[in-house]
C-alpha cells in the first residue's frame, strides 16, 4: 500500500467546475498537513473544452507534478479516453456509471469505480452541477481520507453563497463518499492520511506575487486582462479596499504601464502586469520609465508564443525578448523567481530595486508558476524591508536655487540621483523622455549625452554588486551540472531526487536574475563542471544563448520542451541519465 504519495486528477468539460472541485481536493490535502502541488490544463475557450486539474499530495514538500495518476475522476467519457494511459498500475477511475464503457478499452490493472452521479444528485435533491462533489466524495472514500476536512473546505469555499449551497455541496460529497464506501470493498492501494492540522497556505505564484506586492506597499496596480496574468488583476482588485490600493483595469496595456509610471512619478509604489502581446504594447513605456528613472514593477507572465500562441499553456520563450526590448541601452533588471516563496520575496525585492535604482524592474514568470497551487509556509513578514531609495534631503532642497530646476538627474558615482516628487517644495523638475541634463532640460550636447548614458548604466553595475550570487545546490563535483531559471525549478528538484536514487550526482544553479546576469559565477561554474545542461521550456534554448553571450561558454546540452507543457521531472531525469552515461 502506498500512503500519502498520491496523484489525483479530475477531468471534464470546461465550465463544469472541474477546477473548483480539484482545488477543494487540494485544499483538503493541505489542511490535513500534507503537501500539495497542482497543475491545470485548459484550452482558451469558456465551455465545452477539456479541462483537467492534477493534484499531487505527499507527506514531504513537493515541487512539481510527476507522471503517473493514481486516481482519475472522469466527469465525462472523453476524460477516460484521454487519460487512461496516465494511470499507474492499481490506479482507479471514478466515473459516471451511466457512461457505457468497454472494459477492454482500459488496461486490466486499472480499477473502475462507476458511480451513479445523476441518481445520487436526484436522490438528495441537489443541482446537476454538484455531481462533481459526488465524484469528489467518492474519491475521498476511495483513498480513505478524512471527510470532515473536506466538509470544512467546502464550507469555506462557499461561505459567501450561503448555507443552502454549503449544505447541498456537502451532502453531495457525503453521498458520493457513502456510495463508494458501501459498494466497493476497501482494497485500493493508495491512501491519504491526515498528518497534522495544516497551517500552510495553498497558493499560486500569482497569489504569492500579489501578497508580495501588497506587503511591499504597492498602492497602484494597473493592467489589462491577459492570461496568465489576469488573476493578479483579480486578486489586487479584490483587495483594493482592504489595503487601500487603486486598481485599474485600463483601456489597454499601453495605458496600464503609462499609468503605473504616472503613479511612480507621483511617489507611490506602482505595478502593472501582463503577458506576451500585452508586454509588446508596454515596451515603449518600459523605455520611458528607464529614461526618466521612474520606479515601476512589471509582472510579465509568459505563455507560449509567437503571437497569441497558446494562451492558456506554458512556455519560457520570452527571456531574450524581455531582456532586450525597447530602443537604446538602459538598466533593465529582470528577476525570475522559480517558486512561490521566490515570487513573494522577489516581488517585494523588485519594489526595493525599482525605488533604490529608480528604474523599471521586471518580474518574469510563466503560466506554470502563475497558476499552479503549491502548499507554502506562511511568509515571514519580518524578512521584509522597505527601501524607498534616496530622496533629496531637506538641506539639499533648501540649497537648491530659486530659478533653476532641481538636479533630479545629478551625475553620481553609483548612478542614482536623489529624488523629488510632486508636492515637494523646491524639488521642481520636469522628467523628459528626451535626453536631458542634470536638471531635466532637453539637450543634445555630446558631453552630457555621454555622461548621462554612463550615469544611467552605472546603476546596473551598482545593483550587480549588491545582488547575491546564485548558489549551487547539490554536490560540488557532480557528474552533471544543471543551469536553469524560473519555474523549471520544481521539476528539476524532483528530477534531482530521482537521479540521486539512480546514483547520478547532479548539481543545479538557478539563475534568479537574468539581468544583471551573474556572469562570473556562471562562468566559474561552467569551468569547474564536468558536464553542463540547461533545462528550458522554449525552442531555442534562450538561457543557453544568454549564458554564451555573457560568458562565452557553451552549455553542453540543451534540454528543451516547447509543446506548451511544463517539464515532468521524469523527462529531465531521462535526458540527464543520457547525458551522464553519454
Amino acid at each position: 500500500m502506498e500512503k500519502n504519495k498520491l496523484t489525483w486528477k479530475i477531468g471534464g468539460k470546461a465550465g463544469e467546475g472541474v477546477m473548483a472541485t480539484g482545488i477543494i481536493f487540494a485544499q483538503s490535502g493541505s489542511r490535513g498537513g500534507l503537501h500539495v502541488y497542482d497543475i491545470n490544463e485548459y484550452p482558451s475557450l469558456i465551455k465545452g473544452g477539456h479541462n483537467t486539474l492534477q493534484v499531487r499530495v505527499e507527506d514531504r514538500e513537493i515541487f512539481s507534478q510527476v507522471k503517473g495518476v493514481n486516481v482519475l475522476i472522469a466527469l465525462n467519457k472523453e476524460t477516460i479516453l484521454m487519460h487512461r494511459d496516465e494511470l499507474t498500475s492499481g490506479g482507479g477511475i471514478i466515473y459516471d456509471s451511466a457512461e457505457v464503457l468497454d472494459r477492454k478499452e482500459i488496461r486490466e490493472d486499472i480499477r473502475l469505480y462507476p458511480v451513479p452521479f445523476n441518481n445520487i444528485i436526484k436522490e438528495i435533491g441537489a443541482e446537476t452541477i454538484m455531481k462533481n462533489n459526488v465524484a469528489l466524495g467518492a474519491s475521498i472514500a476511495l483513498i480513505d481520507y478524512d471527510f470532515d476536512i473536506v466538509a470544512g473546505v467546502i464550507r469555506d469555499t462557499f461561505k459567501r453563497k450561503g448555507d443552502r449551497i454549503i449544505n447541498d455541496n456537502t451532502m453531495a460529497a457525503k453521498a458520493g463518499y457513502d456510495y463508494l464506501k458501501k459498494n466497493f470493498p476497501d482494497d485500493f492501494n493508495y491512501k491519504l492520511e491526515k498528518i497534522g492540522t495544516g497551517g500552510r497556505m495553498m497558493l499560486t505564484g500569482n497569489d504569492a506575487i500579489c501578497m508580495g506586492a501588497i506587503k511591499a506597499g504597492c498602492k497602484f496596480y494597473s493592467a489589462y486582462p491577459m492570461t496568465p496574468a489576469s488573476s493578479i488583476l483579480h486578486f489586487m482588485a479584490a483587495q483594493e479596499r482592504r489595503f487601500n490600493i487603486v486598481v485599474k483595469h485600463t483601456e489597454d496595456e499601453i495605458s496600464a504601464i503609462n499609468m503605473a509610471i504616472g503613479a511612480g512619478f507621483a511617489g507611490v509604489r506602482a505595478m502593472c502586469g501582463t503577458s506576451g502581446g500585452g508586454f509588446c504594447l508596454m515596451s515603449e513605456g518600459y523605455g520611458l520609465a528607464g529614461m526618466i528613472e521612474v520606479p515601476v514593477v512589471i509582472i510579465m507572465a509568459m505563455r507560449p508564443g509567437p503571437s497569441t500562441g497558446m494562451p492558456t499553456w506554458s512556455e519560457q520563450g520570452d527571456l531574450k525578448f524581455v531582456l532586450n526590448v525597447s530602443q537604446g541601452d538602459f538598466p533593465r533588471p529582470v528577476l525570475i523567481p522559480g517558486d512561490n516563496e521566490e515570487c513573494f520575496y522577489m516581488t517585494q525585492e523588485a519594489f526595493n530595486i525599482a525605488e533604490k535604482y529608480q528604474t523599471p524592474v521586471i518580474v518574469l514568470t510563466d503560466k506554470n508558476l502563475a497558476e499552479s497551487h503549491k502548499t507554502t509556509e506562511k511568509f515571514d513578514q519580518r524578512r521584509i524591508t522597505i527601501d524607498r531609495g534616496v530622496y533629496a534631503t531637506a538641506s539639499e532642497l533648501a540649497a537648491s536655487d530659486e530659478k533653476t530646476f532641481f538636479k533630479r538627474y545629478k551625475y553620481t558615482e553609483n548612478g542614482v540621483s536623489p529624488r523629488t516628487i510632486p508636492g515637494m517644495k523646491k524639488g521642481i523638475y520636469t522628467a523628459t523622455s528626451d535626453e536631458h541634463d542634470e536638471e531635466g532640460n532637453i539637450t543634445e550636447d555630446t558631453g552630457n549625452r555621454t555622461k548621462m548614458m554612463e550615469k544611467r548604466m552605472r546603476k546596473l553595475d551598482s545593483l550587480a554588486k549588491e545582488l547575491k550570487q546564485p548558489e549551487m545546490v547539490g554536490p560540488r563535483d557532480a557528474a552533471v551540472t544543471i543551469i536553469a531559471t524560473g519555474s523549471t525549478k520544481g521539476p528539476i528538484k524532483e528530477a534531482m531526487m530521482m537521479l540521486e536514487k539512480d546514483g547520478v550526482t547532479v548539481n543545479y544553479l538557478q539563475i534568479l536574475y537574468l539581468s544583471p546576469f551573474p556572469s562570473e559565477k556562471v562562468a566559474s561554474v561552467m569551468d569547474s563542471a564536468r558536464k553542463t545542461v540547461v533545462v528550458e521550456n522554449n525552442f531555442t534554448g534562450q538561457l543557453a544563448d544568454i549564458i554564451r553571450e555573457k560568458t562565452g561558454k557553451s552549455v553542453g546540452r540543451r534540454i528543451l520542451k516547447y509543446d506548451g507543457r511544463p517539464f515532468y521531472p521524469e523527462e529531465i531525469h531521462r535526458e540527464i541519465m543520457e547525458v551522464a552515461h553519454g
Binding site: 495544516g198 497551517g199 497556505m201 495553498m202 497558493l203 501578497m211 501588497i214 506587503k215 511591499a216 506597499g217 498602492k219 497602484f220 483587495q239 483594493e240 479596499r241 482592504r242 489595503f243 487601500n244 487603486v246 485599474k248 485600463t250 483601456e251 489597454d252 499601453i254 495605458s255 496600464a256 503609462n258 499609468m259 503605473a260 509610471i261 504616472g262 503613479a263 512619478f265 507621483a266 511617489g267 507611490v268 509604489r269 506602482a270 513605456g285 520611458l288 526618466i292 506562511k378 511568509f379 513578514q381 522597505i386 533653476t404 530646476f405 516628487i421 510632486p422 508636492g423 515637494m424 517644495k425 524639488g427 521642481i428 523638475y429 520636469t430 522628467a431 523622455s433 531635466g440 532637453i442
Partner: protein, 285 residues
C-alpha cells in the same frame, strides 16, 4: 500669492517665432497665477510634439512622456496624489491620432484634471504631415494628393463620451483661453480644452487670420452649456462660423469620489512600511 516670476523658467521656449504655442503657455501661466496654486502642487504631463515641450517652459513639476500617452500618466499621477492640480497637454496628433484610445476613455472616466490640446491641425515637430484634424483635401508631406478622410471632431467625440467640461479656445485670444483654463481647473471632473493653435511653419491654411475670421464666442451668443443636444448641434458647426467657448458642462461624481481608498488621504501619503498581511495569508490556509 503665486506670482508670474515664481513659475517662470530660465530657458525661453524654442518654438518658432509666432507659433500659437506661446499664447497657450502664456494663458496657462496666467491661469496658474490667477488660481493661485503653488507651483510644487502642479503636475503638467505632456506627450511628444512641439506642444509636448510646455512643461519645460514653466516651473512646475512636469513629465514630458511619450507620444500619445499623456492622459494615462496624468490620470495616475492624479489618483496617486489628488492634492495636486494635474494638467495633461499635447498636440492634435498626440491626442486625437495615436492617443485617441486614451482620449475617449479619459472622457468617460471623469478624473478631476484638465486636458489642453494644442490643435494646429498638423504634425508640427515632425515637420508637417497630416493630422487627424487636418481638413479634407489638405496637402501635406504625407498626403501630397490631399487628405481623404474627414477630420475628427473632438468636441462631438467628447460629448459622445461623457466628458463633463468641454470647451474650445484659441491661442490667438489669450484672455479667452486663460479664462477657459481657469474655469476648467475649477470644474470638478475631467475638462477638455481643444485649442486652435496656428502653426506658422507648416499649416498655411489655418492661420491666425483664418481663425479670427471665423470664430465667435458661444457664451456671448447665449449658448446653454447644460444642454447636451445643443452642445452637439454646436459641435457640428464648421466653415464660415466656428464657435469657441464652453460647449457643455455638467456635474457628476468624479472617479476619485468613488474611491474610498483615498477618502482619508492621498495614496502617496499613506504609510507603507508596516502593511500587515497576516489575515490575508490566513485566507489561503
Amino acid at each position: 500669492m503665486v506670482r508670474m516670476i515664481d513659475i517662470n523658467a530660465i530657458d525661453k521656449p524654442n518654438w518658432c517665432p509666432g507659433c500659437g504655442d506661446f499664447g497657450i503657455l502664456l494663458a496657462l501661466k496666467g491661469a496658474i497665477v490667477e488660481l493661485n496654486i503653488e507651483p510644487e502642487n502642479i503636475a503638467i504631463i505632456s506627450g511628444i510634439g512641439c506642444s509636448g515641450k510646455v512643461p519645460h517652459w514653466l516651473r512646475t513639476y512636469g513629465l514630458h512622456g511619450i507620444h500619445g500617452r499623456p492622459l494615462p500618466v496624468a490620470a495616475a499621477t492624479r489618483l496617486s496624489n489628488h492634492e495636486l492640480t494635474v494638467f495633461a497637454v499635447g498636440g492634435d496628433g498626440d491626442g486625437y491620432g495615436i492617443g485617441m484610445c486614451h482620449f475617449i476613455h479619459a472622457m468617460r472616466r471623469n478624473i478631476d484634471m484638465t486636458y489642453i490640446v494644442h490643435n494646429n491641425m498638423i504634425y508640427g515637430l515632425t515637420t508637417g504631415q497630416t493630422s487627424p484634424t487636418s481638413e479634407k483635401g489638405m496637402r501635406t508631406k504625407s498626403t501630397p494628393s490631399g487628405v481623404i478622410e474627414v477630420p475628427v471632431n473632438p468636441i462631438a467625440l467628447a460629448i459622445s463620451s461623457g466628458a463633463t467640461f468641454i470647451a474650445r479656445s484659441f491661442a490667438g485670444d489669450v484672455k479667452h483661453l486663460q479664462k477657459t483654463i481657469v474655469d476648467a481647473v475649477k470644474h470638478r471632473g475631467f475638462s477638455l480644452i481643444d485649442v486652435f493653435q496656428p502653426c506658422v511653419s507648416f499649416n498655411h491654411v489655418n492661420t491666425y487670420d483664418w481663425y479670427k475670421q471665423r470664430i465667435y464666442d458661444l457664451q456671448a451668443a447665449g449658448h446653454n452649456t447644460g444642454d447636451k443636444m445643443a452642445a452637439f448641434v454646436k459641435s457640428q458647426e464648421w466653415g464660415e462660423k466656428i464657435p469657441i467657448g464652453v460647449f457643455y458642462e455638467v456635474l457628476s461624481p468624479t472617479y476619485e469620489d468613488e474611491l474610498p481608498q483615498i477618502k482619508e488621504m492621498p495614496l502617496v501619503k499613506q504609510a507603507i512600511d508596516n502593511v500587515d498581511i497576516s489575515k490575508l495569508m490566513d485566507d489561503f490556509v
